[in-house]
Each structure stands twice: as structure tokens, then as C-alpha cells.
């Protein structure tokens, strides 16, 4: 469904493009040996380049180059065999060299695309480019009234800036784009996608136009660090622009900041001064030349990406589109599913993962890796269901306690007397007594009221305290009611 903003006079179309900064999960920085550990003491992970010492020189981290190539390949993008590092010049206290080493005219990765899925509808979003650059340090403003504190631990960390085409048309599409991108990055492991830590952050370019007209002037909302905030920021910013335009004003191209507390965007006064970054090729770094051999070698190491995995899960395990989509949306879940499903029924495992497992994780507010759930544990439990030792219902009832315990599944259910009743004779006796107690119903059933079959099953389960094997109950009941 088309998303339009209802102004007081017109309906406006929203145009969105994103620049995502993804920190590469490398041990050392892009151009220095300093470690990249998160949460270290201030200025304790700083090498000469990272604090702009006189005579410091950059030397590139091969791993970061490889991760950029892998990411480019997974974005269906062209890898540029020659790329150039430039200096982007501006003064800021957390930019120690007085310039950022980035890529301008010749980025390492060119045009590509990814496919997002909004409510079952697929849409292709163009990728303009991906380039490598240094992160800046961090300025902190709350320690003292009159001063700001500078920590350069993050300075020089490797970033991939991934720029999209202005192809998104709604806050949801923007959100889906970031989710999909983050998912891809996690699949290949180039970035952990942690937005809270700032390892993934987005600059959102927002403009509005009357449908069919030229692109309007855009505003860039800098460094939004959660998907919810991205949506809120877009929502606020697009309405602000519509209001201005409808009251006869015009949009000023500027950089804005999103304030999550107020849910508003505001102009960044500090950076208002004319941007003139004076990009020029960094004379400290020769061009980055890649061989086909290197690119092909990396291509072979690419893991299965979410879209392909989804297709495979659907065909291999007969999953429906919806289930397959949720399973692949989280790399760890997808991996968990695959290791659990091994030798078991896909549909049962998928129902359990998207049902019990998801609600358990939600309740304990942890992800699958942090939780105590393992493939062995869940698989062991499901095996007891599949071989009829316990019923599905029993399994669900004990699931959370079982996960929290460290016991073997069989031992766990035995200790709790949870064995399923599968003895044919015993079940037949139970059924017979239920039928004897309900002669009227039996007659009605035999006269064609077949719906009553469920009633008998329910009664049998009730008297067996839920332990009766439903499959045997069904079969025996059918036989006795003939």
C-alpha cells in the first residue's frame, strides 16, 4: 500500500535514502594496530595515527579490506579493482588528524542492491556505494559545565559507509532496509550490527514531494542509532517538511539531529558553517588495487545469505514463506533451527522455534545465544514428542522449566512422572468407560453427528490427565465407534 503523508492541503510522497555506518568487527583499527575493544578506559586503545601524532602514518588492515569486499559481494555489488583513499578535511576535537581518511571518488564497492520484504511484498533497494573510512573519536559533554572530554578509543576504527539510493518511500521501508542490511552484515560477520553500541548507525536523508514531481530539497538526520528512532525521526521530519511547504516556505538543506527524548529533529548549529571538505587523495596511501584472484577467493568463502537460506528452508523443510522469513531474519535463530532440524521434522521444529522458543526468549529478554536453549536440549525434548513418550502439550507445559534445568530430557520427564500413556489396553479401557458414561452422544455420533468425535477425544484426554497418546486415542476411538 502506498504511504502518503496527509498534509492539510495535499498528500505528499516521502523520499528516503540512508547512509549506514557499519563498524567492521576487526581486532585492530583500519590504519593502526590499536585494539577495538568496546568499553575500555578512555584513550587506552590509541595508536599514533588515532591521535594524529606528528609523523604518524597509516597502514591498512587487510581484514577490513576483505570484509568490505565480502559485504560488497553480499550486496550484489560491483567490487572496484582500484579504489583510492582520500582525506576529508574538517576541524573537530574528536578528529585528531584534522581529516578523516575516507574514500570519495573511487570507493571500494560500487552499485548494488538488496531486496526488502514489507508485509510480504518484496522491493529492491539500490545501493549506491560502499566505502571504507576511519571512525572519529568521541566527545563527551556532560562531565563538566565549561568543557567537553575527548576519548579517542573509537578514533580510527574501521567503518563501512553504505549509501543507498533514495529508493525508500515510508518509515517502514527504511526500517526494513536497515534490518535487512544488518542481517546481511551479521550473516557474513563483517559487522555485529549492534546499534546500541553505535556499531551500526544511520544518517537518514529525508525529502518530500507531491507525487510525480521532482525531488525536493533534503535534510540529513545524522547518526540515528535505533530502528525505532529511525522511524520516529522520519515521521517527525517528513511532517515538519510538509508543514513548511504547505505554509509557503521552502526547505533548507541542512544537517539535523534527532532527539529521542523529545521525538524531534533539530538543526545542528555547530556544523552549520559551510561544508567544504577539500577532499584530495591521501598521499600516505597508494591506490588499493585488488586482483580478480583475491575477489574470487573471497567469493568462495561467502556464507549462505538470508534470501538464499529462506528459499532453501522452504523447499527442504516444506516451510511456508512466513515461517521461513522469520527464521532467516536472525542469523543465530536460523543456525539454531538448522542444527535442531537435523534428522527431525521441519514443520514441528519450525513451529517450536517460532512459537515456544520465541516467546521464551522474549520473556527472558535474551537472544538465543545468551539463553540456555541449545539444539541438543530442544531436539532431545522434541524427540520424546516425536516418539510418543510425551505429548506435544506436555512438552509445551514443561518447556521453560526443562530449559532452565540442566537435566537430560528423558530423566527430566521421568522425575516428574510425565510419561505419556501409550498402552493400548489401558487406553482402550479409558475409552470404553468414557463411551459408557455418554450413551446418548454415542448414539448421536452413530447417527451422523461426526463432530462429536472431538468431544470424545477431549474426555479421554481429561480422564487420562493429558497423558494419553493422542494418536493412539484417535485410532482406538475410531475403531470402537464403528
Amino acid at each position: 500500500m502506498e504511504y502518503l503523508i496527509d498534509g492539510s492541503m495535499n498528500k505528499w510522497e516521502l523520499i528516503l535514502g540512508l547512509e549506514v555506518h557499519a563498524q567492521i568487527s576487526s581486532r585492530s583499527k583500519l590504519f593502526s594496530e590499536a585494539p577495538t575493544n568496546w568499553g575500555a578506559d578512555p584513550n587506552s586503545q590509541v595508536d599514533l595515527v588515532d591521535c594524529g601524532m606528528p609523523g604518524a602514518l597509516p597502514v591498512i588492515n587487510e581484514y577490513c579490506v576483505e570484509q568490505a569486499i565480502l559485504t560488497g559481494l553480499s550486496l550484489n555489488a560491483r567490487i572496484n579493482k582500484t579504489s583510492i583513499f582520500d582525506r576529508k578535511n574538517y576541524f573537530y576535537p574528536d578528529l585528531p588528524q584534522g581529516y578523516q581518511i575516507s574514500q570519495f571518488e573511487y570507493p571500494i564497492v560500487g552499485k548494488g542492491f538488496i531486496v526488502i520484504n514489507c508485509d510480504g511484498v518484496e522491493k529492491q533497494i539500490g545501493i549506491t556505494r560502499l566505502h571504507l573510512e576511519q571512525d572519529a573519536g568521541k566527545s563527551m559533554h556532560d562531565q563538566e559545565v565549561e568543557s567537553s572530554f575527548i576519548d579517542l578509543n573509537r578514533s580510527g576504527c574501521a567503518l563501512m559507509e553504505i549509501v543507498s539510493e533514495p529508493d525508500m518511500r515510508s518509515p517502514t521501508e527504511a526500517a526494513e532496509y536497515v534490518k535487512k542490511l544488518r542481517n546481511i552484515l551479521r550473516y557474513i560477520g563483517s559487522c555485529d550490527g549492534n546499534m546500541e553500541k553505535g556499531n551500526l548507525r544511520a544518517d537518514v536523508n529525508v525529502s518530500v514531494r507531491l507525487p510525480g514531481e521532482e525531488l525536493g530539497t533534503r535534510c540529513e538526520i545524522k547518526n540515528v542509532n535505533s530502528i525505532k528512532f529511525i522511524q520516529q525521526a522520519i515521521d517527525y521530519e517528513s511532517k515538519r517538511q510538509v508543514e513548511i511547504l504547505e505554509s509557503g516556505g521552502s526547505i533548507k538543506q541542512e544537517t539535523r539531529l534527532f532527539d529521542p527524548n523529545k521525538g524531534e529533529t533539530r538543526s545542528m548549529r555547530g556544523k552549520e558553517e559551510s561544508h567544504d571538505y577539500r577532499y584530495f587523495p591521501d598521499p600516505d596511501l597508494p591506490p588499493l588495487v585488488l586482483t580478480d584472484e583475491k575477489i574470487n577467493k573471497l567469493k568462495k568463502t561467502l556464507p549462505e545469505l538470508p534470501d538464499d537460506k529462506k528459499k532453501r528452508l522452504m523447499s527442504e523443510f516444506k516451510l511456508n514463506d512466513y515461517d521461513a522469513e522469520i527464521l532467516v531474519n536472525d542469523k543465530d535463530i536460523a543456525e539454531f533451527f538448522e542444527s535442531t532440524v537435523c534428522g527431525r521434522d521441519g514443520k514441528i521444529v519450525s513451529n517450536w522455534v517460532t512459537g515456544e522458543v520465541f516467546s521464551y526468549l522474549k520473556r527472558i529478554e535474551k537472544n538465543i545465544k545468551e539463553s540456555k536453549i541449545t539444539s541438543n536440549k530442544l531436539g532431545g525434548l522434541l524427540d520424546l514428542v516425536i516418539d510418543g513418550t510425551i505429548s506435544n502439550r506436555q512438552a509445551k507445559e514443561i518447556f521453560e522449566d526443562f530449559i532452565d534445568s540442566d537435566e537430560d530430557p528423558r530423566k527430566f520427564i521421568q522425575e516428574r512422572g510425565l510419561v505419556q500413556l501409550s498402552d493400548m489396553n489401558e487406553i482402550e479401557n479409558l475409552i470404553k468407560s468414557v463411551l459408557q458414561q455418554n450413551p446418548k452422544m454415542v448414539e448421536d455420533y452413530k447417527n451422523g453427528k461426526e463432530k462429536l468425535f472431538g468431544f470424545f477425544v477431549g474426555q479421554v484426554m481429561k480422564v487420562s490427565e493429558g497423558k494419553a497418546n493422542p494418536k493412539i486415542v484417535n485410532e482406538t476411538l475410531k475403531k470402537l465407534l464403528k
Binding site: 599514533l48 594524529g52 606528528p54 609523523g55 602514518l57 582525506r87 576535537p93 584534522g98 567544504d276 577539500r278
Partner: protein
């Protein structure tokens, strides 16, 4: 007793190994010389204590017969090279109190070869200058005087003026320099000594304070060509800390002695016969041609058609790179800081007061030529012209092996001259800049005197990484010049 003032590095090495004298004695001698000649202002930061400690260590090594290639040789270190624990200023107020906690690769290589640091030599601020008149720590004085006016003080040339003046006046056995557009060769020529700018990439730039990264190259300043080879041998290395450090094999530079000049083709570029080339320099150049002929070299007339454009291209490229290289001097993490309430004011006042006039001028030019609307017309244009200049050299090296030119259009001039118009000062580098832009090795060797007995240097430019041939030609001049 050995006459220390007459020693070259190579003869001192022999004397030390022979136990004719100790490194401590030698070092003590130079310390006294530096103290006696403090008026020349060659050193910003003397490091006498360190020097004596190093000398003691060297004497021990010599006793144990564990001497390294420059064991016990006292040298000056241009204050552009970061030295661990020793103040490094680049001749600027903005680094007045800066003490590096790391060592430049070139200086480290020298210490690892046993060389001894007498101190950090004065230089033009951030290596921007051709007379050593832009240092925050004052002018360096050339020890040489014109015959007719013994008291007039001359410039030593720049930017490695402190190193050149110190070597010339015998305050150290040799010194490091750095050459961006002529900063080793021009002062060597003005002081009557040998200055070698190696091929770009031969010596690591790690820890050398950057002026213009695509041009900066470290090199030795020495009394003799042989000393130049000796020092270069230890300065040159492939360095993983510098992405523009060459992996090409480093030869034994002393092998220059085995290279014959006979049969070599020596190119004489007609474009170097510029208007304003001093006639006495012209005479020495002609003399140089005759020396080569007499040794059996073939003289070839060559043309480097874009020579005229080299200097303007250089004065776009070098300031542009400098404008970024010097952006880090902002008073936040180290160096001079002018405290102001507001960050922008802090930057502007710190840099306004911390940098001298010439540096500010070049930062302004560099910022301008990179700024929106001017990039293509100036910076990009200059890069294209640089390509043409480099192509010119590539072309002529198909028909000649070495190029012989004067080093400078003039001899050393009095302090205070050429100070009114910056361009007049820039013109000093007109003959050295083309080889810098092309990254080629070039040496300046003293080859004669003007009638005021001021030295005149000739420049020999070689193919990339062919320092050996350049040294060989230099030593031929040394042999034939008759002084």
C-alpha cells in the same frame, strides 16, 4: 693526536677501529665545537648527555669488536625526525614543548647502526623555506663568508639549514636532512657540502614530521660523497610502518666506487639554462660537463620541456598536502595551545600564534587550491602537470643515464635578502623541484666557487632507485674539482 676537524665519517670509522681515538673523545670534541659556535644557531636542542652515553656504549662495542656500520660517529638529527624522549619541534612554536614517545624509522636506523646524536638541528618551520629564516628558534647562519665582506652573515639555505651549517662548520660528522623541493640539495650547495635526496620511498617517512607527503624524502648531508653513501646505507630501509616505503632491494651504496663514468650518457637539459642563472654558476656547470667528457662520458643534449611549470605546480601540490598534514596541530592533544572559551577560537588563536608567517601563507594557499570551485583549476591541474614533468624525465632517461645541472640559480645570499616577496624566495628551488616532483634521486656536490669564494654545487639526477650511479658521478666531481 688526530686532527678531528679533518676527519670524514669513513676516516673516523678507521680511526675508531684502529683505537687511534675513542668515540667519547670524538663526541667530546664535537660537543665543544657546538658550544663554541652557538652563534651559528645550528642546534635547537643539543643532546650532549645522551651523546656521551651513546659514545661510551660505542666504545664498548668497538672494544668487543661488535661495532656496527656507523659505530661511534657523532651526527646531527634534523628536528623534523621524532626522537623518543627528546624534544622535536619541526622549527615551530606550535611544537615548542613536544616530546615524542616514539622514534622515527630513519633516526632509529641510524642509532641501530651506532651513530651518536649530538642534538636536533635547526630548520625552517615545518621545512617550509629555502634560507632557514622561518624557524621559530631563529635564523641559522652560514659559517662561510664572502671574501670581500668577512662580516656579512649569509643564509645556509633551507630547510635543512641547521644540518648543512653544522656539517660545513665541523660541528658534526654528518647530519640528516629532508628534501621536499630541494631542502637537502640547496643548503648543501650553499654550504659547500654534499647533500643527497634519495628516490622517493627509499627512506621511511615514519616519524618524520610531514610537510608534503608525496614529496618528502629523508637523506644525508655530509662532507664527502663516500660519507653520503655510508649514511644512506643505514638510513634506507623497507618499513612496514610506511605504506609508501619501497620494497625494492637496497644495494650496497659503497658499490658506487665500482661504477664507471666512462661510457655513461650524461644529459644536459637546455631548459635549466634559465634567465637569472648566475654566470659563475653557468661556468661551473660547463666545467662539470668537461669533467664528465674527460672521464669518457658521452654528453647528450636533452630537453625537459615542462621544467618551467615545475615550480608553480610544486607550490600548489606541496601547500595543498601541507594544509592537511598540519591540520593536526590544533592545541588539543599536544603542543602549543592558546586557551580560549570557544573551540573555534581556540583553533584559530592556537594556529594563528603557533605558526609563523610562511607556514600560514602556505596553509592559506593550500586550503585555497583545494577548496570548492578551485580544486580542478589548481590542484588537479598541478597533478596533471606533475605527470608531464615525470613523463619528461622518463623520456630523457631513455637516451641518457644521468642528468647534470646546477643545484641552485644563485649562491648563498645575505640574511634578510629575498624576504619581501615570497616568490623570490621560492625561485631558489627552481632547479631542484623538478626531480622532487618526479621522485628521482639527486645529489648536490660542491664543484666550484664564485669570485667571492662562495661554493657552487652541481646537481646530478638519476633514474629511480639508481642512487649508486648518482653517487658515482658525485665522487668523480669530487676527484676532479681540485679542492
Amino acid at each position: 693526536m688526530t686532527e678531528f676537524s679533518k676527519l670524514s665519517i669513513s676516516s673516523a670509522i678507521k680511526g675508531l677501529n684502529n683505537k687511534d681515538f675513542t668515540s667519547v673523545e670524538l663526541t667530546q670534541y664535537y660537543i665543544e665545537k657546538i658550544q663554541e659556535n652557538s652563534n651559528l644557531n645550528c642546534f635547537i636542542t643539543p643532546t650532549f648527555e645522551t651523546a656521551l652515553e651513546m659514545a661510551k656504549k660505542s666504545d664498548e662495542n668497538i672494544t668487543k669488536k661488535k661495532q656496527r656500520s656507523l659505530e661511534g660517529i657523532p651526527i646531527g638529527m634534523k628536528d623534523l625526525f621524532c626522537t623518543n624522549g627528546t624534544r622535536t619541534t619541526a622549527g615551530s612554536k606550535i611544537l615548542e614543548n613536544f616530546i615524542p614517545f616514539y622514534e622515527s624509522t630513519v633516526s632509529e636506523n641510524l642509532w641501530n647502526s651506532g651513530a651518536i646524536m649530538l642534538g636536533k638541528t635547526n630548520m625552517d618551520e615545518f621545512a617550509m623555506g629555502s634560507a632557514n629564516t622561518t624557524s621559530f628558534f631563529g635564523n641559522v647562519i652560514n659559517p662561510l663568508n664572502p671574501k670581500s665582506s668577512k662580516n656579512s652573515e649569509l643564509v645556509p639555505g633551507g630547510s635543512s639549514g641547521g644540518s648543512a651549517s653544522a656539517v660545513c662548520s665541523g660541528l658534526c660528522m654528518g647530519a640528516t636532512g629532508s628534501d621536499t623541493g630541494g631542502s637537502i640539495r640547496q643548503p648543501a650547495s650553499f654550504c659547500g657540502i654534499v647533500g643527497l635526496k634519495p628516490t622517493y620511498g627509499r627512506c621511511s617517512r615514519f616519524g618524520m614530521i610531514a610537510f608534503a607527503s608525496s614529496l618528502d624524502q629523508a637523506g644525508p648531508i655530509t662532507k664527502t660523497v663516500e660519507d653520503s653513501a655510508l649514511m644512506l646505507q643505514s638510513m634506507a630501509s623497507f618499513d612496514q610502518k610506511d605504506s609508501t616505503s619501497s620494497r625494492k632491494k637496497i644495494p650496497n651504496f659503497l658499490d658506487f666506487k665500482n661504477i664507471e663514468i666512462k661510457g655513461k650518457k650524461i644529459g644536459i637539459p637546455k631548459e635549466y639554462l634559465i634567465d637569472g642563472l648566475n654566470s659563475e654558476i653557468r661556468r661551473v656547470w660547463d666545467q662539470g660537463v668537461n669533467w664528465f667528457k674527460s672521464e669518457g662520458a658521452e654528453i647528450v643534449d636533452i630537453s625537459l620541456p615542462h621544467t618551467n611549470s615545475a615550480l608553480p605546480a610544486y607550490y600548489i601540490i606541496a601547500p595543498a598536502e601541507a594544509s592537511a598534514n598540519l591540520a593536526r596541530y590544533d592545541g588539543i592533544r599536544y603542543g602549543f595551545r592558546e586557551n580560549e572559551k570557544d573551540i573555534k577560537e581556540l583553533y584559530e588563536k592556537t594556529r594563528g600564534k603557533g605558526f609563523g608567517k610562511e607556514v600560514k601563507r602556505r596553509l592559506m594557499i593550500g586550503t585555497y587550491v583545494l577548496s570548492a570551485g578551485y580544486y580542478d583549476a589548481y590542484y588537479l591541474k598541478a597533478l596533471k602537470v606533475r605527470k608531464l614533468i615525470s613523463n619528461d624525465f622518463e623520456e630523457v632517461f631513455k637516451s641518457c643515464d644521468l642528468i647534470l645541472t646546477p643545484t641552485t640559480p644563485n649562491v648563498a645570499f645575505p640574511i634578510g635578502e629575498k624576504q619581501t616577496d615570497p616568490i623570490e624566495m621560492y625561485l631558489n628551488d627552481v632547479l631542484t623541484v623538478p626531480a622532487s616532483l618526479a621522485g628521482l634521486p639527486a645529489i648536490s656536490v660542491p664543484s666550484g666557487f664564485n669570485d667571492e669564494m662562495l661554493p657552487i654545487g652541481l646537481q646530478i639526477i638519476g633514474r629511480p632507485f639508481d642512487e649508486i650511479s648518482v653517487l658515482s658521478a658525485g665522487s668523480m666531481i669530487e676527484r676532479l674539482r681540485g679542492f
